[in-house]
Symmetry: C2
Subunit: 218 residues, 2 copies
């Protein structure tokens, strides 16, 4: 069995990999986990020992097969708990991340499988993120971030790519949630910001915001 700290490192490596597809650097991990690079090196040695990662000094790290399965299982637990919190306990989507950060470390497999059944085997969490199944397979939906769509495009929000309270509260204020129809009215070349129509109201959103909103891709 792995410790809390080990689990958090595996999770961090998986998350960084999703964005970069390259080997993960010591510094990236230390930024995500807010620890010193020296601590990261220490932990990578330990994870290598346990064969949860492939790691060579100065060359970066990636998850081994078993490490990846382990990390995906944590992600599965995180997203199932978030779904429970929103759909059954009445939390809103910006509140659940922190609590799920704790719940994702509960070990019982039977618990998580029963929770999955209780929730009706959901494929997506309250942020539209895919929930890995028991076998670690992540449902694949082709999606594009809003910033890549052209002026004139109109479509529905599929999900978001970050689970940050400030971001999600801002979206809520803009009346954006999963399924919301968004139309691109204009794109500002200078700062890549967008003027969009949501529920018949025009709003000006930054590139950073658009980048983290996912739209269905046919």
């Amino acid at each position: 069995m792995n410790t809390l700290a080990e689990e958090n490192y595996l999770k961090a490596i998986l998350n960084i990999s999703f964005n970069t597809n390259k080997k993960v650097s010591t510094n990236e991990i230390s930024n995500v986990l807010k620890t010193s690079p020296a601590s990261v090196t220490d932990m990578l040695k330990k994870l290598l020992e346990k064969k949860l990662v492939e790691y060579e000094k100065y060359k970066g790290v990636e998850l081994s097969n078993s490490g990846k399965q382990y990390a995906i299982n944590i992600l599965r637990k995180h997203r199932l708990w978030e779904t429970f919190l929103v759909e059954h306990l009445g939390f809103n989507w910006s509140e659940v991340h922190e609590i799920a950060e704790e719940l994702e470390h509960i070990k019982s497999t039977k618990l998580i499988d029963k929770l999955d059944a209780f929730l009706g085997y959901p494929k997506f969490d309250p942020h539209g993120e895919p929930i890995p199944n028991k076998e670690g397979v992540i449902p694949n939906v082709k999606s594009t971030s809003l910033d890549q769509m052209e002026v004139g495009f109109a479509g529905h929000v599929l999900g978001v790519t970050i689970d940050d309270k400030l971001f999600l509260d801002y979206l809520t204020k803009l009346n954006i949630k999963i399924g919301t129809k968004i139309e691109i009215i204009q794109k500002i070349d200078f700062d890549k910001s967008l003027i969009v129509r949501i529920e018949n109201i025009q709003n000006h959103i930054s590139f950073d915001v658009a980048k983290n909103i996912l739209i269905k891709n046919n």
Copy 2:
């Protein structure tokens, strides 16, 4: 905020106090937590420092007011989670203790209050144990253990006092659950065991078993 280890010590002290009403000894704690007495001494010093216990060298320990509130809150979380696991996820009463031992350490107060509401503010958990409310008040039901009842007594099971898989599985085999009617047919003086009737079937149960079954007391 207190660590996992600290929480487990507070919990252990509370549990022992329920049975003894005296100051709790180092040895008792080390037995419950399966640590060495020396480790217990170390931790008691730390808890004293934090004013969670009243402790004098060689004289035993008891919870301070704040320590007691803290420990009761852990108990509240434990019992609410057990209720959720049995009533909504379909676990049986002998499986939930271990999982609740992990869930009870999840910190969010908002989570536990919402869970409480979701469950309909239950007063008793699946073992018949009272669930402390948000204010730390524990519902008080007068109950007597089965071993203290006389021959000829007939009544209903209110709950059990231990949360042990072997014990609960045995009760299930005997067809004993909460609400089950039990009649005392005979008491064996030699070993204090009892012959009882449950659902029209006679069974011979030991003193140790009877001691841990609670009966309503008028």
